[in-house]
Symmetry: C3
Subunit: 325 residues, 3 copies
C-alpha cells in the first residue's frame, strides 16, 4: 500500500518552511500522506519504514497536541521516539541552544522535531546537525506540517485546489500558521484572502494576498474555505486585543456570519484547539463542512509523509546480516 518513493522526487534533509518546497514536492507530500491515512482504517496501523530510527521531539515551547501528533506519527512508522520538553529558562541559564543540539546530535538521533518560540531556531538546528530537522512551529515564522495537513484536508474536500479560494481570518501579522498555510495554498494555485484589522496586516505581505478589512466583504468574496486562526490567549492578555467578547465580534464566526458560510456551503477550518465562543460559536463544530477534526487526523498522516520523505545526512552503512545479536 505504501508505495516506493517516486525516484524522480529527490529527498531533502529538512522541512523548515513551505517557501523552500517546490509545487511538485508539495503535491508529492500530499500524495504520500494519502496511503498513510488509509492505514488508519486497518487493524495494524503501522509500517516498518523507520524501524531502528530514533526520533527526538525537542519542544522548547509546550504543546501537548502537536507533540502527541508527531509522536504517534513516528511510532506508526516503527521509529523509537524520545520526548524532551526543555523549559526555555533552563536553556537560557547555562546552556546555549547549540550546546543542547550538539548533545542531542551526539546521541545519534535520526530526526529532530523542533518547536521554539523564536523564529529561526529550527533552521539554526538544521545547519548544525546531520539529523533531519522538522520545524514544528517557530515564533511567528513557519509551521509547515500544519500547512501540509491543511492543504491535504482541503484536497480531500474539493479535489484539485487550483482556482479555489481560502480566506484566513485573525491575527495575520503574528501568525506562523497563516504564513505557512497561505504560501502552500498559493503554490497549489489557490486564491488567498485574509481578513484582519488594518493594524494586524503585515506590510511586506506577498502580492497575491487579497486583503479585506471588513468580514462581510470577505465573505462576499465567496471563499471555498474559511480558515479561522486561533487567538493566542497570552497575546490577548498583553492587550494586543480588546476583550474576548470584542475579539469574537470582530474576528469571530458569529451566528450571523456562520449562517452566511453554511448557506454558501463554505468549509470551516481552524488549527485547534478552538476557543469556543471566541473564534467561533459552538454550532460550527457540528456543521457538516466543519473540517477541524479531519485536520487533526490528517496531521498524523501528513507528518508520517514528511518523516518518510526526509533523508537524514548521517552516513549509514548497509545493515550487516550478522549485526543482530
Amino acid at each position: 500500500m505504501i508505495q516506493e518513493l517516486d525516484p524522480r522526487m529527490s529527498r531533502r534533509k529538512d522541512l523548515l518552511d513551505i517557501e523552500s518546497l517546490t509545487r511538485d514536492e508539495l503535491l508529492f507530500l500530499l500524495d504520500t500522506a494519502r496511503p498513510f491515512k488509509e492505514l488508519f482504517t486497518r487493524s495494524v496501523k503501522k509500517v516498518p519504514a523507520l524501524r531502528g530510527k530514533t526520533v527526538l521531539n525537542l519542544f522548547f515551547e509546550p504543546s501537548t497536541r502537536t507533540r502527541a501528533s508527531f509522536e504517534i506519527a513516528a511510532k506508526r512508522l516503527s521509529a523509537d521516539v524520545t520526548n524532551l520538553s526543555i523549559a526555555q529558562s533552563s536553556v537560557v541559564k547555562g546552556e546555549s541552544i547549540l550546546d543542547t543540539i550538539e548533545t542531542m546530535q551526539s546521541m545519534k538521533v535520526d530526526y529532530m522535531v523542533v518547536r521554539h518560540s523564536a523564529s529561526g531556531v529550527p533552521a539554526f538546528v538544521a545547519k548544525h546537525t546531520p539529523a533531519a530537522v522538522i520545524n514544528a512551529g517557530d515564533g511567528h515564522h513557519a509551521h509547515p506540517t500544519q500547512a501540509l495537513l491543511d492543504t491535504f484536508t482541503m484536497q480531500e474536500a474539493v479535489g484539485d485546489l487550483r482556482g479555489r479560494k481560502v480566506l484566513i481570518v485573525g491575527d495575520i501579522l503574528h501568525s506562523r500558521v497563516c504564513r505557512s498555510v497561505s504560501t502552500a495554498a498559493h503554490k497549489l494555485g489557490m486564491e488567498v484572502g485574509v481578513f484582519a484589522p488594518a493594524t494586524l496586516i503585515p506590510n511586506g505581505r506577498p502580492d497575491y494576498m487579497k486583503v479585506f478589512t471588513d468580514f462581510g466583504a470577505a465573505l462576499a468574496w465567496q471563499p471555498d474555505f474559511v480558515y479561522l486562526l486561533r487567538l493566542q490567549l497570552e497575546r490577548q492578555a498583553a492587550h494586543f486585543f480588546p476583550s474576548l467578547r470584542e475579539y469574537h465580534n470582530i474576528f469571530g464566526l458569529t451566528r450571523e456570519r456562520f449562517q452566511i458560510c453554511s448557506d454558501q456551503g463554505m468549509y470551516i477550518m481552524h488549527p485547534g484547539p478552538v476557543n469556543r465562543g471566541v473564534e467561533l460559536v459552538d454550532e460550527v463544530l457540528t456543521y457538516a463542512r466543519c473540517l477541524i477534526n479531519q485536520q487533526v487526523e490528517n496531521g498524523i498522516a501528513a507528518r508520517m509523509a514528511v518523516l518518510y520523505w526526509l533523508q537524514p545526512a548521517t552516513t549509514v552503512l548497509p545493515m550487516e546480516e550478522d549485526a543482530i545479536a
Copy 2:
C-alpha cells in the same frame, strides 16, 4: 499460553464501572488475567496481541503509579503508548473536554485510558469516541480495574470467593475504590462489610453492605480480608478528618488491631500508596498475609486482560499483505 478469547463471551467497547459487568464477565476477566501474570515469570514478558494499536493514557488527574501500570500493561501487549497529562486548568481555560477527546479521537487511537477528578467523564468520553475507553478512576464514582486486580488478588489467596468476607475500612462515602471493590466482591458472592464513622457512611448504600461503626465489632465479624482505603491527604487538609494521629486511632490498623488480624489469619489489602503510620503501622507491610505488593503486580495482569478483551468500535479492514512498505 494466552488462550483465544472464549467465543461465548462477547466483547464490550468500554470498561466504565463494575456495575455493568455480569458475574460471568467478571470471572472471565479474572481467568484472562491469570496467564498474563504467568507471562511475567518468563524472559520475554510480551505478547503481540495489540501490535499496531495505539493506547492513549489521558490523565486529567496526576497519578504516577496507575499511569505506569497501564503503560507497562499496554507495552507488554505490544501496543504503542502515548501519555498525555493534561492539567485541568488548561482544559477549563479554552478547550472543553469534548474538544480534547475529539482531537485525540481524530488521531485514531484505539484505546483511551481516562482518569479525571469529576465523576462521569470516562462515560462521557466513551459516548463520543469509537475508541475503547477504560475508566482509570473518576471522582467518587468508580475505579473498575482496581476492583478487578483486588478480586484477582483475593482469588489467588483463597480460591473461590463465594461466602468469603471482605471488610472495607475508611472514608466509604467518598471512595471510588470502595464502590468498585464492594460491587465486584458482591457479584462474586462475597459478604461485604464496611467500617466508617456514621458521618462517612453513604445513605443510598446497597442492602448487601453490612455497616459497622466500631472497628472492634467489625473485626469480630471475622472478615477474610481487611481492605484499608487510602486517606486522601488533600481531604484531610480540608478538615474532613481530624489530625493524622486521630485518623490512625479511628480508622488505622493500629498495633492492637493488627494483632487481632494476624491472630485470625486475615489478609490485609490497600490500594496504595500507603501512608505509613496513618492507615496502618509499619509491621503490617512485612506480614505474610499482607497482599499490597501482589495487588500492584496483579494490576498489570488485570489491565492486560481488560485491554485484551475490549473491542474498539473503529471500523477495521483486514490487513492487506502488501500494506507494509
Copy 3:
C-alpha cells in the same frame, strides 16, 4: 556484530559504583561498548537483545540528558522503557523510597535506572529488588556509567590507558563524577591528578591521587586529559563559591590555560552540560581534541553495554513456543 558475552566473565546484578568492578570487568565493559557504538553508523540502530524486558527510569532528581541517554540506550536494545520522574517532596510526604521501590518491583520491571540526590539510594534499592539496578548518579557518591563512558572516550583517543595522565579540575570534594572517573582511571593504570583549592580537596582521598593547588603546576604535570567538572550552579547560589567570574578565574579553562593545553595537545573533557564562560571559554568547544561530544555519544554505547551485561535476579522460565497469542 554484537558478540556473545565472554563466558568467563560472570554477570552481576547491579552497577552501583566503580569500586566494586574488577579491572577485567571494566575492560570487558569497554570492549562491549565498542560494537554498540559501531551500530550507530548503521541504518537500523537496534538489536533485539532486551526484547520483552522492561526498563524503568526512576529519577528522583531531574536530568533531561542522562534520562534521555538511558532511554535511547534501552530502546536500541529493544527494551520497553517507562519513565518515572518522582518529585522528592512527594516521596517524603506519604511514601518512603522503599514503598516506591516495592511498588515498582511489583510491576516486574527487569532493570531500574535510579538517580537520587542522596548517596546510597541506588544501593538500598538494589538490596530490595531482584531487578538489575544501575546507579545513574547518587548524591556525592558515584556515577559509574559516566566513568565508563569517559574512560571509553579516553581509550578511543589514545588506546591503552596505562601510564596516561588525567587531571580533574573543580569541586573535587563534592563530585560524584570525580569519584567515579578517578577510580576507573586508576584501575585502568592511569595516573590521576586533581586541581582544586585546598578547602575542596577531600581528606580521605586515595593515596594515588596527586593533588595540585595551582592550575599552572597542574598543567606543567603534562596530563594527557584535562577533565573539567561541571559547576553545580545551585552550589554557587549557596555561596560555596565566589562569583561565576571568580570561579572562571580560579577553576576555568581561560584563554591562557587553554593555550597551554592546545600547545601540548592535551584532550579536554567535561561531563556536560557546559556552563560556557565558567568552566571553559567558548573556543575550547571547537578544538579538535575537545572530546565533549564524543562523551555524549559514548554514553549511549556504554549504557547499552551495562544493560547488556547485567543480569536481573528475577527467576525466568524458558520461553515457551506457544506463549505468544
